[in-house]
Amino acid sequence: MEQIQIPPVDLAVVAPLITVVGWAIVLLLVDVFFVPAGQKRITGYLGIAGLVMAGAVAAPLWGSDSSTFGGMLVLDNFALALTWIFLLIGAISMVIALDYLPRQGIEQGEFYPLIMFAVSAMMLLGQSANLIVMFLGIELLSITLYILTGFAYPRLSSEEAAMKYLLLGAFAAGFFVYGIALIYGQTGTVQLFSTAPGQESLAEYLGRQTFAAVDLTLLLVGSGLVLVAFGFKVALVPFHMWTPDVYEGAPTPVTAFMSVGTKGAALAALLRLLDMALPSLQPIWLPVLATLAAVTMLLGNLGAIAQSNVKRMLAYSSIGHAGYLLLGVMTVSERGVQGFLFYLLAYSLTNLGAFAVLIALEQRGEAAWSLDDFAGLWQRQPFLALAMAVFMLSLAGVPPTAGFVGKFYVFMAAWEGGLGWLALVGMLTSAIAAFFYLRVIARMFMQEPVRDVQPQLFRGLTLGISIAAAGTLIFGILPTLLINVVQQTALAVGR
């Protein structure tokens, strides 16, 4: 009988991915068979080791530009940089969860493999060059996050958050699939761009068309639906309604993880879709995205002003930051891609750190997250107060922090992309945002304690906060370390 031709598989392309997934599966079994209850932090250590291992596996791949599985998965510097960012996010989330889980009485070994699965899904999104693979990544990511959000069972707010997230996430998935179907209906392909000569892809398809002659309705409607789905995942206004509740209800390390990871992964996928598959349609989608970004920055930051609960405030502010990230996505320029990566790393470190500080203030059964609980923190826990100040300044975009350089980067990209007005909106909303970030600093340093809150620091937490704060400052003072790296990631934009 005739052999079926199977396209060659380049395992190097998926090596980091396989490492994480394989390690997670094995870890799940190791945990359940060998790690005794009450000592689940061993699982955590093993999980962190796995992520570090995957990072090491990815290291020699730097500089490669290859694809496999018929071009569905690609490995370029952009994907690799994202991989490292996601691994870092996962590792820090695990580090800060090590003590959090037992303290909250919700210690289950599955937490760590679940985080690893989520990380692998994010990596998949970063590597995907195909709408179906993207959908796979989004679903894997979402499902693990639904579980993680409800991880604080039987705390009601956690369950409520998981339920809300599940329902809205399912809607978003529906939009995504329907969008893919319409796009396929018009173009006959779900591949974003060609990785081999002669391969059909969206970019190829659009390259062949002369626009006046073709009716692109289906493609546009499909892309719109896909955009809506991404909007849900990234929490762009007006698809952000779930965010504050879910972020507030989820266990804090999970909130930290998804506030940076989901956004980063979904936006990275969106970036590939817009910048590499549909750049020729930019005149059509740019106004839409620019409006979305402007509204997101405005409403996210305005919403945060009204919050007296710091966790909820960070949830709203994360909506605003999605808007800033979007600036880098939509300019279809090397500068934009670099800015996006830089901002993502800066924001990830900062936000993870800020949530880690919240963990220190969280006791079992009672969370001390109101602004009053921050009053006088400087006198009780100088380390926490200093670190929180660094994070708040970085989120506000004050030098010399990484957050400032990131903002500078994306605003520069926006200006050079002809979006000066959007950069202006970004500036104005940053000024608004400075108000509520600064309020936290003011409470910590300039007030006497109002309530008796005993912050608790553990080794893992201290380590996580220190790494985040150090990164925030180092990349703020010597951004060139990171800029040199992200400069090598510039995609062949509009390939």
Binding site: M1, E2, Q3, I4, I6, V9, I25, V26, L28, L29, V32, F33, D215, T217
Partner: protein, 118 residues
């Protein structure tokens, strides 16, 4: 190109009217003589006991999910088995990895006690 979709639209309308039309016609044609017994939920059969909203044991769902997983596994394995000769060693390895992953999942379920009926 949109005209191609018109056929689907027509099919949709026809398909919808096929079951609806008899129902509507029956509604108008049939004699109406309601009695208490006729209007009870199950005119024939057993009396309904208790509330409709009963809580099922959670294991029921776990079984259902486990069943679905292996059901789908079989669907994937059928075409593989049919084309076994043609896909060669690579195909064999791929399917083996696939089965191994499911097996590991089963191990996990077993250890977690999801397979026990309490």
């Amino acid at each position: 190109m949109l005209t191609n979709y018109a056929f689907i639209g027509i099919l949709f309308v026809v398909a919808l009217s096929f079951p609806l039309l008899p129902l509507i016609m029956a509604f108008f044609l049939r004699p109406k003589r309601p009695t208490t017994i006729k209007q009870s939920t199950y005119e024939c059969g057993l009396e309904a006991i208790g509330d409709v909203h009963v809580q099922f044991k959670v294991q029921y769902y776990l079984y259902a999910i486990a069943f679905v997983i292996f059901d789908v596994e079989v669907i994937f394995l059928y075409p593989w088995a049919v084309a076994f000769d043609q896909v060669g060693l690579f195909g064999f390895t791929a399917a083996a990895v696939f089965i191994l992953m499911l097996f590991l999942g089963l191990l996990y379920e077993w250890k977690k006690g999801a397979l026990e009926w309490i």
